[in-house]
Symmetry: C2
Subunit: 355 residues, 2 copies
Amino acid sequence: MMDTTVQNIVVEKVKTSKIDQIDFDNLSFGSVFTDHMLVCDYKNGAWEIPKIIPYQPITLDPSAKIFHYGQSIFEGMKAYKDSNNDVWLFRPLDNQKRLNISAKRMAIPELPEEYFMEGLKTLLKLEKKWIPQSEGSSLYIRPFIFASGKGFHASPADEYKFIIACAPSGSYFSGKVKVLIEETYSRSANGGVGFAKAGGNYAGQFYPTQLAVKKGYQQVIWTDDNTHEYIEEAGAMNIFVRINDTLITGPTSDRILDGITRKSIITIAEDEGIPVEIRKITVSEVVEASKKGILKEMFGAGTAAVVSPISGFGHKNMNYDLPELESSYASLLKKRITDIQYNKTEDKFGWRYKV
Amino acid sequence: MMDTTVQNIVVEKVKTSKIDQIDFDNLSFGSVFTDHMLVCDYKNGAWEIPKIIPYQPITLDPSAKIFHYGQSIFEGMKAYKDSNNDVWLFRPLDNQKRLNISAKRMAIPELPEEYFMEGLKTLLKLEKKWIPQSEGSSLYIRPFIFASGKGFHASPADEYKFIIACAPSGSYFSGKVKVLIEETYSRSANGGVGFAKAGGNYAGQFYPTQLAVKKGYQQVIWTDDNTHEYIEEAGAMNIFVRINDTLITGPTSDRILDGITRKSIITIAEDEGIPVEIRKITVSEVVEASKKGILKEMFGAGTAAVVSPISGFGHKNMNYDLPELESSYASLLKKRITDIQYNKTEDKFGWRYKV
Ligand SMILES: Cc1ncc(COP(=O)(O)O)c(C=O)c1O
Ligand SMILES: Cc1ncc(COP(=O)(O)O)c(C=O)c1O
């Protein structure tokens, strides 16, 4: 067994911080980056000890496999600052485990848990000033691994880079979104890589999303590739549907990402006494429910947007509007989950993680 | 309309060539690179004029979208040198067109034909000495485009790089391969990106291929993701099956790459008077044909390996051997296509392209 305890992560600090150039009152999502990043190389069959260096460009051979064969995976998480200036993560070990689940499917060597967790904590302590405190803002954290090894042979690389970069961010979406239920394109195959946070899954969504945007929608609801009759995900989020007072979400599968927000919402909803069903959702039942007036809500769930309410959907050239509710599950669940994340309430499920 | 005529591609030459360090008698596939590369940037909504520079590392921001969202495509082609020292390409315009088909599906801006063709010719003239002349060797050419634009938002990048790099190469495979007909994993979805040469398609194949290798096979035969009953591709090649004297290959679809070798083989086979069928191939008919002794050949077809004969296949824990034939379609077709590529014979279909 390799010893993966990390005693001292070497930290090379920037000479001058660029934090004063950042307008923290007008943050967009994921477009300004903190002073430092964590870097960890896989070479000669092993992950080396991670180190922290100034945020800087990466230099790669033109034959590096990332450019040719899409061998890359990532995670998305957030650090929250409470009113005491304490810093919190939300279920970070689940991101660490999921990174390795993605790694396995993409033939990338799994990363030791210690390197991820100790690396992340050391980086966040160093970047503490960069974590916004204002409502709805947080430090978006992007751990990722890509193939840096060389060669035009279509086979796994022999070298990889694991990096954690951070971006102080405002909220992801503004307002409700109108979605198109996809009838032609799909994001993942049975036996494919849809359950992994593999880079290629996202690029494959861009074009169908552009087509939906041209038709006046903001996002695509992905359906199964065989019948387009089962609702699977909402853009890069898991999807929830409320029919009457029952909250329904599809089961995870090899086509669907096992979202941390999704499973937290299921737990909170059950805790609230909301009837929850985890089962396949058909497009026809959603359309029927809408026609009967019992389709009360639809929303996406994911780290970036937390809960993203849907105002209406298109399907087979018809548009269906969702009602405006005074007290929606979406806003109740969003408040409960963000209150836990920002340490504004008791953490009865043990999800908060102090940095 | 943008003017995309390229008058003079600026060439920055290396000070000293590294060609003397290369052992041209022992070339592997795609692991040594020539002195120069073509680079073309997409910025501010347009492709800039390409330029040729010394082969050198690429520098990118850690937030470049290639690292996160797999927005990348590529092509694979070869330059052949004949006994007169003349240099030839094989149906290069088909690669140029296919690059743009891939680009569209991956929300990458399409590249002007002139930039591709003039860029390629200028580069090959400069690298002429690097093109091997020995039997079975050639200059493998890798045109590729990736997202260099920055940001953690999962949306198409605003900047891209198109590069052509070249690697003098020996043959891809040595000998016949044993393949496993896939029953669990799959490479592409209906409505997905399987018909595009998108990076992520290849990384997704690595893990299932590793599992097949552990079981004693060299490659996976991909089947449809829904029933695993239709034979679609052989690794990163198109597949041909010979039952009795009929040559069969599957139709192209949104799950299958429209291979240039495949379509050339179809034309040559018909020219030879071989009965050719383009139709769906089921796993059961292949298994049945093998049991009856009428499954004569199976082979993969693609630029890198040209024709790659299969010696046997595994399916549902059974192994099936293919016969050793004295005169196989595989060797006949390989000879006819390579004779055209290396200018050893008349080019009756007009496929050769002089550089
Ligand atoms: C495809 C997809 N589905 C769902 C999610 C939601 O997962 P999580 O709640 O863990 O962020 C993500 C990531 O944000 C995703 O990329
Ligand atoms: C998935 C796949 N199928 C088939 C082929 C064969 O295409 P071509 O004959 O144009 O090289 C390739 C590329 O080589 C490929 O990547």
